[in-house]
C-alpha cells in the first residue's frame, strides 16, 4: 500500500468518526427509535468508489470501533447494534456495486435499507425483543430518503475529488 493512499484512508476514517460522533450526540426530532441520517455512510461510499471494497470495509469497521471507544460504549449493546448494521450494510453495498448496474444512489439506498435490517436483527438477538419488527416497515420506508440523501452527498464529493486530481 502506498503511503499516499494510506494517508487518504486515515483521513477518511477520521472524517467518518467525526460524522458518527456528531450524529450520536445530536438526536433527531423524529420520535422513532433507530432512525438517523447515516452521515457516516457518505464517507463509506466515497471510500468504496474512490478505492475498493476492502477499503470501505476497513473504514467502516474502524469507524465503528474507534467511535464507540471514544463514546465509551465499546462492547456495550449500542456497539453491537452499530457493528451489525454497518457490517450488513457494507456487504450489501459492495455486492450491489459489483453485481448490479445500480448507480451510487441505488447503492446508497441498499446500504441504508440493510443497515436498518441489520440493526433490527441485532436488537432481536441482543434484547430478544421481537417487537422491534413492528418498527421495521416505517424504518425501511424512511431509509430510502436518507439513502438518497447520503448518495447525493457522496456523489457531489466524488465529483469534486475527481476534478481536483
Amino acid at each position: 500500500m502506498k503511503t499516499k493512499q494510506m494517508m487518504n484512508i486515515t483521513m477518511l476514517i477520521a472524517i467518518s468518526i467525526l460524522f458518527h460522533l456528531i450524529e450520536a450526540t445530536i438526536p433527531l426530532p423524529l420520535p422513532i427509535p433507530g432512525f438517523k441520517l447515516g452521515l457516516a455512510n457518505i464517507v463509506g461510499l466515497v471510500a468504496l468508489y474512490m478505492y475498493n471494497a476492502e477499503v470501505m470495509l476497513s473504514v467502516n469497521l474502524m469507524r465503528v470501533l474507534l467511535a464507540s471507544l471514544m463514546r465509551g460504549i465499546l462492547f456495550a449493546p449500542g456497539f453491537w447494534l452499530s457493528l451489525c448494521g454497518v457490517l450488513l450494510s457494507s456487504i450489501v453495498a459492495i455486492c450491489a456495486k459489483r453485481n448490479t448496474s445500480m448507480t451510487i444512489f441505488g447503492v446508497s439506498c441498499a446500504s441504508s435499507a440493510f443497515h436498518v435490517v441489520g440493526q433490527v436483527i441485532a436488537v432481536t438477538i441482543i434484547y430478544s425483543q421481537f417487537l422491534m419488527g413492528a418498527l421495521l416497515p416505517i424504518l425501511l420506508l424512511l431509509s430510502i430518503p436518507t439513502g438518497l440523501l447520503t448518495g447525493f452527498f457522496a456523489n457531489q464529493v466524488l465529483k469534486r475529488i475527481q476534478t481536483e486530481r
Binding site: 449493546p77 448507480t103 441505488g106 417487537l131 419488527g133 416497515p137 425501511l140 420506508l141
Partner: protein
C-alpha cells in the same frame, strides 16, 4: 438514477408495505376489543393495567424509575432516564400496532387487546 436504482427502491417500498399489512390487520381487528396496557421489562411482563383507567404508574427499569401515564384510552412514557429520551418524545400511543420501546431501559410498553373482547362484561341477574 437509472432503472436498477428505481427497481430496488420499489422493492424496498413494497416489502415495507407487505411487512406493515399484518400489523394493520391485527390493529383493525382489535379496534373494538377491550384493551390493556402491558409493560415488559427484560422480556417479562411486570405490569398489566386497563387502558380505560386514567392513572400514572411507576416501574423500575435498568436506568431507574420509569413513569407511565394512562389517560383517555392512550398511554405514554412520561418520565424516564435514557440518553435521548426517545420513548418519552414518542408521546401518546393508542393502537396495538405501535409499541413504545425504550432499549436503554430494556422496557417495552404495549397495548394489547384482551382475547375475551366486548362480551366480557360482568352482569348480575337477579
Amino acid at each position: 438514477m437509472n432503472k436498477a436504482d428505481k427497481i430496488f427502491i420499489g422493492l424496498v417500498v413494497i416489502s415495507a408495505i407487505l411487512l406493515y399489512i399484518p400489523l394493520f390487520i391485527q390493529d383493525s381487528q382489535n379496534k373494538h376489543k377491550q384493551k390493556a396496557v402491558v409493560v415488559d421489562y427484560q422480556n417479562e411482563e411486570i405490569l398489566r393495567v386497563d387502558l380505560n383507567k386514567d392513572e400514572t404508574y411507576r416501574v423500575q427499569a435498568s436506568l431507574g424509575e420509569v413513569q407511565i401515564e394512562v389517560k383517555d384510552g392512550a398511554v405514554r412514557v412520561e418520565k424516564e432516564n435514557s440518553p435521548y429520551h426517545l420513548c418519552s418524545i414518542q408521546g401518546w400511543v393508542k393502537d396495538t400496532g405501535r409499541p413504545i420501546i425504550c432499549l436503554p431501559n430494556e422496557l417495552v410498553v404495549q397495548i394489547e387487546a384482551n382475547e375475551t373482547g366486548e362480551d366480557d362484561v360482568d352482569t348480575v341477574i337477579q
